[in-house]
Every structure is written in C-alpha cells, then in structure tokens.
C-alpha cells in the first residue's frame, strides 16, 4: 500500500508541472498585463516599463516560468502583483475559509446522501423513493446563485421580519470580527453550507441509491436474508458497507474539487475564500496569486484522488492494491 501511495504521489508531480506550465502561458499571453493592471490608474509615465522590469515581464516566457518556479518550490511565493501583499498569507487565509465551508458541507451532505440512498434502494419505486428522486433532480438543476439568493431572501430577510427580531437568525454575510461562539458560527455558516450541500446531496444520493440497489440484488444478500438475518442488519451491515466504495470514490473526487470551486457560493455570501481570491486575481491579472492558487487546488485534487484510491481499498479488501 505504501509503495502504491508513493508511486501515485510521484506520478502526480509531472502532472502538476505540466498544468503549471499551461496555466502560466495562458495567463501571461492572454490574461491581463500585470504591469498595466498595477499602473492602470497611475499617471507616472515610467510606471509600466519599471514594473515590467521589476516583475521580470521583459524576459522571454520560458525564462519567466523557470524563474518563477524556482522561487516557488523554495517557498518564496512572493507578493501580489496588484497589492504587494504576501501571496502565501492571502492563500492561507482564503484556504482556511473555504476549508470550513467545505468541511461542514461534506459532513452534512455525506450523512444525508447515504441515508437517502439507503432508503431509496431499500424501498425502490416507493412514493418516498420517487419523492427523493424528484428532489435530487431539482437539487441538481437549481442554479447555486439562485438558491443562495432565495435562501437569503427568505431565511435572512423575511424570517427576520416575520419574527420581528432585531437581529437576523441566519446571516447572509460573515460577522465582521468573526464568530465569537458556536451559535454565531452556526448563524454564519448555516446558509452557505446548506446551499452547497443541496447539490452535493442531490448527486451523492443518486450514486448511493444506484450502488446500493446493485448490492441488495446480489447473491450474498439473498443468502443472508434466506438465513434469517434481520432485514435492518442485512441492509446496514452488509449492503451499505459494500456499496460505499463507489460513493466514497465520487465523494473524494468532488471534495478535492471543492477547494477551488466555491466561487458562486462565496460570492453570494461574501465569504473571502479561494473562489473570491481567484476572481480577484483574474480581474487584476495577478499571476503571482493565480499560479500558486492553481498549484494548491491541483494538489488538493490529486491528494483526494489518492485518498479515494486508498479508501476504496480500505472498504473492499478484494481490490486492495499492491
């Protein structure tokens, strides 16, 4: 197992390098000129040539790439080309915010998706199954931004008016000084976590249902039931355990992508996470933020893919890799 993990980790390095080259070239060649972005409002006629020299933009592209990556691997991520603020501080702050959102959404969604999947599979084509299927399709079809705005309208604004409360119950923006206790933490995260969870639950519950149905129709399940084992035990101990591998694989891949993919949710709820950081960097042509951003999110995707493979083996010893 250890050899397998190490081998996978090593394979991911050239993937990351190739991806970084592609992003670097695309951003430099087709994105905002960082010198113009920084000097855009300056009336200093020498600003652009000076900044170009300072940022090494007057060098050939391969030279720029090598210089940049040399600094990057040594941990010198530099400063934002737009603001001069430290890049690793910016990414660390944004990553922490996104991690919290993703963590609670995955925890909530995983549990609910499994429960819905198990129910739907154990009572297929029942009214309950049809209801959950309809809700799942609706959840998949709903645009995130629309759902977010609706949640704010009804659970922040209308709920406050209806209860006549001076303070909102569910917040649409973070607390300015951060949540001071668990209640405030819940108030701040409830709506964005819910919005994020809707699509996750919708997709994952379908996977779980499908996988579980397949397991429940297997010979060994039929044998277990023929032997007189309680239905509940058959479903939860045997069926569920063996059906989880497919869902866990999908979940791990989705979770990896979450670290860079919460742009809309973060925008609607004004959260300063990785999505917000990406938007800002794109608007300003700030490659000093874009490149490490891409590398960090790429790393998460690769790591979680690796976790998916490992978990698959944990859940099903028959396919444990050598």
């Amino acid at each position: 197992m250890l050899k397998y993990v190490l081998r996978r980790a090593l394979y991911s390095i050239p993937v990351l390098i190739l991806a970084s080259m592609l992003i670097f070239v695309l951003v430099r060649e087709f994105g905002t000129d960082p010198a113009r972005a920084r000097c855009g409002v300056s009336r200093d006629k020498q600003c652009i040539p000076r900044v170009e020299k300072e940022l090494g933009l007057d060098q050939a592209l391969p030279v720029q790439y090598v210089d940049y990556m040399t600094e990057f691997v040594q941990g010198h991520w530099g400063d934002s080309q737009r603001t001069g603020q430290s890049v690793d501080d910016s990414i660390r702050r944004a990553l922490w915010d996104t991690t919290q959102l993703a963590f609670w959404a995955v925890l909530l969604s995983g549990g609910i998706a499994v429960a819905i999947g198990v129910y739907s599979a154990s009572k297929p084509y029942s009214p309950g199954d049809y209801a959950f299927t309809g809700l799942a399709f609706a959840g998949l079809a709903l645009p995130t931004f629309w759902l977010g705005l609706i949640m704010i309208q009804y659970f922040t604004y209308e709920l406050q008016r209806w209860t006549g409360s001076a303070d909102v119950i569910f917040r649409s923006i973070p607390f300015a000084e951060g949540p001071q206790n668990a209640t405030q933490y819940f108030q701040e995260l409830a709506l964005p976590v819910f919005v994020l969870s809707v699509q996750l639950i919708a997709g994952w519950s379908r996977y779980q249902r499908s996988s579980m149905l397949e397991e429940l129709n297997s010979d060994y399940i039929r044998t277990a039931r023929a032997k007189g084992l309680p239905r509940r035990r058959v479903i939860w101990k045997h069926g569920l355990r063996n059906s989880l591998s497919a869902l866990v694989t999908v979940m791990a891949i989705d979770v990896g992508a979450l670290f860079g993919g919460l742009i809309i949710t973060e925008r609607v709820f004004s959260r300063p996470g990785m999505g917000t950081l990406l938007l800002s960097a794109l608007q300003n042509g700030d490659t000093n933020i874009l490149l490490p951003w891409m590398l960090v999110t790429g790393m998460f995707i690769i790591v979680f893919n690796l976790i998916a493979d490992v978990m698959y083996g944990v859940l099903d010893p028959r396919v444990r890799v050598a």
Binding site: M1, T32, R36, R38, C39, G40, V41, S42, R43, D44, K45, C47, I48, P49, R50, V51, T83, G84, Q85, D89, S90, R93, A94, Q100, F103, W104, L149, I152, Q153, T156, Y157, Q160, A166, D167, V168, R171, S172, I173, P174, A176, E177, G178, P179, Q180, N181, A182, Q184, Y185, R267, V268, F269, S270, P272, T276, L277, N284, V310, M311, V314, P317
Partner: protein, 561 residues
C-alpha cells in the same frame, strides 16, 4: 487484518483531528456572551464597504482607490485641502487657515499649520511632514501620480508651523497637492525607512480623528478595517467607540445586509429596485446623490468615420440621451439628468452646460443629423445607412463585458443610431483588455466607460493632444480619443497654469465649449450614489460627499445604544 485495522485507525485519527481543528474555530463559552452583546449592542458602527483597498501606502501606484480613501485614508491622516459635499476646496483641519498664494515667478504657497495639530504620539505636525511627502512623491519609484510635485523646487521648513512651497513653474491645481488621494504622514516616524514597507499593510499612527484598532491588526485582510478614536486628535473627537468597515463585494449581498441590520450603513452601487428594498424597512434612510463619476461615449477621432468632426457631431445629434437615462438610471434611483459637460455640475465655479449651449438637447435631433451628414458629403444608401465614397458609416462600440447597465446602453444606442442612419456593432472585451490594451493602443472606435471628475477642473490630461498615447511613448497617456484640437489644447493648457481663479474659470468654460464643438466624446449622465443608513441607530450630520465619501465626518455622528 492488522494492516487493515492500522489503516482504519489512521483514518479515524485523521478524521478526529480534522473535526477538532474545525470546531476549535468556533469557540464555546458563556464568557463570550457578553462580547456577543457588545458586538451587536451599538458600541460598534458596522458599515458595508464594496471594495477593499489594495494598499495603505497612499502614494503607491497600486493605490488611487476611492474606497481606500473613504474607509481609511480620510479618517486617519490629514490633508492640506479637503473637498466639501458641495465640491469646493476648503483648508483641512491640519491648517490654521487659508494658505497664501504668491503668484508670479516663482509661484509660492505658504501653508499655515494648525498649532494644535499633532500626531497620535503627541509629536506636532510640522512643515517637515510637508517636505517629507513632497520628496517621497517627487523622487520615489512606483508613485501613483507625481503631477505637480515635480514642479516643486523646495519646501522651506524654517518655521515648523509654516510650510513654504516654491514652484519652478505656475501650477494652477496646487490645491490638489498634499491632498486628493494623498495624505500627510509623520516624517519623524518614517524618515530613513521604506515608506512602502512601513505603511502598505496599515499603520499605527494617526493624524485624524480615528486610528486603526491595534495598528496593522486593524486591517483584517479580505474581511474588514476597524477604526477606534484617536485620543490625540485636536478637533472633534468621535463619540462612537469603534467603526468597522466590512468588505462586501456583491451589491445584492450588501443591500440585504443593510436591509436586515447586519450592517448599519452602506454606499451600494445603485441597481434596479434598490430603493424599493430600502423603502420596506422603516428604520432606513437614504440619500440619492449625483457625484463626480460620469458615463460617456468616447469616440476615437483617429478612426474612420470618426475622423470627421461632422460625423461626430451627427452622432451626438442622433443620441437620445434622455431615453438612456430613463432606461438605465431612473429604474435604480428614480431620477436622472442628462450631463451637458465634462466638468461636473457639483463644481459650480467651473461648470457650464456647454453641450446644451452648443445646441445639443437631451433628445435626438434627426434633422440636425441629416444636415451635418449631407453637408459633409454623405448620402443614405438603399439600406438607410450613410455612405461616402463607397464606405458606410459603420461603427463598433466596446464596453466592459458583463456590465448589464452598459450593455443595455449599447443596445439602446444601436437602435437610435440605426434610425439616424448609422450601423453600430457591439463587441465587448473584458475590462482589463479594454482599459489595458484597446484604450491606450486605440484599438477601438467607440468606447463606453466612466471617468472621474475632480474639484480641480483640469481636463488637459484627457483631451490635450500632448497626452495621446503612442508607440513612441510606450502608450502612456490618457487621451484615448486621440483628440487633437488647438482650441482644446490652448484652453485646457491655460487651465493648468492660470492661477487666478476667475481667469481659470473663464478658460475652463472656453475649454468646455471647445469640447462641445470638437465633439470627441458624448457625455451621458453622472452616476448616482446611494448612501443608506439606519436612522434609528445613527444620528448626526449624515450627507454624501462624492469626493471624500459619505463617512468623511463620522467623528460627528452618534450611535444609539
């Protein structure tokens, strides 16, 4: 089996550690209840800020952000001149009175410093601080704008309470110096240090009514800026114990945050229905104001057919600007007026409705279009489009992609021009391409974007021929329309060097008339501002100041408990 248990154990440990790490971000404890009450009880004024400043080094090329001035600069650092809500310059609190201007060669300005003016550490504000700022701007690298400062030959600091500034040449916009986007800083703390390193992330010192709470810690990047009263301030000290500007980028989120009381004041971008939203909440009060940012069509006079003055004038006559305002501005703020100059009406000393005087009303005049075009040798083809020497009057317009209001404006104008006999196509790049490449390099025929007016009437930078960006000068220059007219150059050049206020006003009005005649740009409307606050919580002289922001006099506000 054992390997499997070991692996499962490892996974369980990782999961538990992760949960513990996340949960620790939400501290539990009854002792925090008091802090919760304090946070929401009225000790802190929470304000929504649509933009976070890029840097607190105000002279850096990354600075120049209005929101930076509104949320930090104007509250913490002094300026020689400030701008009133009516758009007039007045001496800042750091001065003891009006500076003395000595015209002639050389021009000399004497700034009398308020004897009570001190920095937050008690050190007096002196002429040395003026000298320091001048040197940093005129000799520094990576400066936002050194215009004017390079015209200063010396700052005499013989008298610590009088800064005597001598110029090498007449500089009419002297009231913008040591102010505008810039602020005086404490030379005694910064001399010999890197100004950028010392200030870019915030600063502990202050020369205004407020200071950053905990110095640099008061600026929580991507989250908020928190200010507390500066006890050493010599003017009216704030009665509010803390003010926090929370960064809320999304306008819809900001509107809801104000409407629900999550913040107590805001300055949101107007959008359709915003006033209806605020009207539903009885505790909210708002002001709609028209500030110094304006939208316009910008014509590239170097490109056919816009290289013909008659065509440009015809486009102006073909434009129903009132219809644009009725569709774009009024749905958001219920009012709006056609702009008739590039000097804003809020600066009455220099403003004249030059385009109205030149005969351009708020609506289209198709007879005028016909007269101008036929007089210039154009004739309408069978498709109804003007043509001359086999070439059609075809135009392309560019604006910032994704901006709904501007895209709607383009569509309206396209329809209006079609009626008048012009063919307009729309192709919108991203803002960085429009402002970073196409504008400076002249890769456009018509642009639709905003400009910011200033209390100083100088427009030479935008319209004088010497400011045309070219390959020769590295495409640096703000005259993107490539306007090149002796009357414009003369009038606006005179505005930049004439010190006498009346003569300057006359030159500015002459310059505005020249712009209305040469017609390289079509002014549309002043962008509205909406200042909204919770009147049950906040009281005091609340008003909009388009230059300094509506929060400029927060030290005079009171907050209900």
């Amino acid at each position: 089996m054992i390997a499997g248990l070991r692996t499962r154990g490892l996974v369980a440990v990782v999961a538990l550690v992760s949960v513990a790490a996340i949960v620790s971000a939400a501290p539990l404890g009854a002792s925090n209840q008091a802090r919760v009450r304090q946070q929401s009880s009225g000790d802190t004024l929470l304000i929504a800020a649509e933009q976070e400043l890029a840097t607190a080094n105000w002279i850096s090329s990354s600075a120049g952000s209005s929101w930076g001035v509104w949320e930090l600069g104007v509250h913490t650092l002094p300026q020689a001149f400030t701008v009133t809500p009516a758009g007039a310059y007045e001496p800042g609190a750091v001065l003891a009175g009006e500076p003395t201007l000595t015209e002639g060669s050389p021009q000399v300005v004497s700034y009398p410093i308020n004897p009570d003016a001190v920095w937050s550490d008690g050190t007096p504000i002196t002429s040395a601080d003026f000298e320091y700022l001048w040197k940093q701007i005129s000799t520094g690298k990576d400066i936002y704008d050194a215009t004017g400062y390079k015209s200063i030959t010396s700052v005499d600091t013989t008298d610590p309470k009088t800064a005597v500034v001598t110029f090498s040449e007449p500089y009419a916009a002297w009231k913008d110096l040591f102010g505008g986007f810039y602020f005086l800083v404490p030379s005694h703390l910064l001399e010999g240090k890197s100004l950028n390193k010392a200030m870019k992330d915030g600063y502990a010192f202050s020369g205004g009514p407020w200071k950053l709470d905990g110095g640099k810690a008061g600026w929580k990047k991507t989250k908020s800026i928190t200010l507390v009263p500066n006890d050493a301030y010599w003017g009216t000290k704030p009665s509010i114990s803390k003010v926090t500007f929370q960064f809320i980028v999304d306008s819809a989120a900001e509107t809801k945050a104000v409407a629900t009381g999550q913040v107590l004041a805001g300055y949101p971008q107007p959008q359709e229905g915003i006033l209806d939203e605020f009207d539903k909440v009885s505790d909210l009060q708002y002001i709609v104001d028209f500030g110094n940012v304006y939208e316009g069509f910008w014509l590239n006079a170097a490109k056919f057919p816009l290289n013909s003055q008659a065509v440009r004038q015809a486009l102006m006559a073909a434009t129903d600007r009132q219809a644009i305002i009725d569709s774009i501005v009024k749905p958001a703020v219920r009012e709006g007026k056609v702009l008739q100059s590039f000097v804003m009406p809020i600066f009455p000393a220099y403003y004249t409705p030059a385009f109205a005087d030149a005969g351009y009303g708020p609506t289209a005049d198709l007879d005028k279009v016909d007269a101008l075009m036929t007089g210039d040798g154009w004739a309408k083809g069978s498709d109804g489009i003007w043509a001359k020497n086999g070439k059609k009057a075809t135009l392309q317009i560019q604006t910032t992609a994704g901006n709904e209001a501007r895209e709607l404006t383009e569509e309206l104008w396209q329809s209006q021009l079609q009626t008048a006999g012009f063919e307009l196509t729309i192709k919108n790049p991203s803002s960085d391409v429009l402002f970073g490449v196409n504008g400076p390099k002249g890769k456009f025929q018509v642009g639709l974007y905003a400009q910011v007016g200033t209390p100083d009437p100088g427009l030479c930078i935008t319209f004088c021929s010497k400011n045309i960006p070219s390959k020769k000068n590295g495409f640096v220059g703000q005259n993107w329309t490539r306007s090149s007219d002796p009357a414009i150059d003369e009038a606006w050049g005179a505005v930049d060097v004439t010190l006498d206020t009346e003569a300057r006003a006359t030159a500015a009005k002459t310059g505005q008339a020249a712009l209305a005649d040469y017609l390289v740009s079509i002014p549309l409307y002043q962008k509205p501002n909406v200042f909204v606050w919770n009147k049950a919580k906040i009281s005091g002289p609340l008003e909009d100041n388009p230059t300094l922001g509506p929060f400029y006099n927060m030290n005079l506000w009171t907050l209900a408990g």
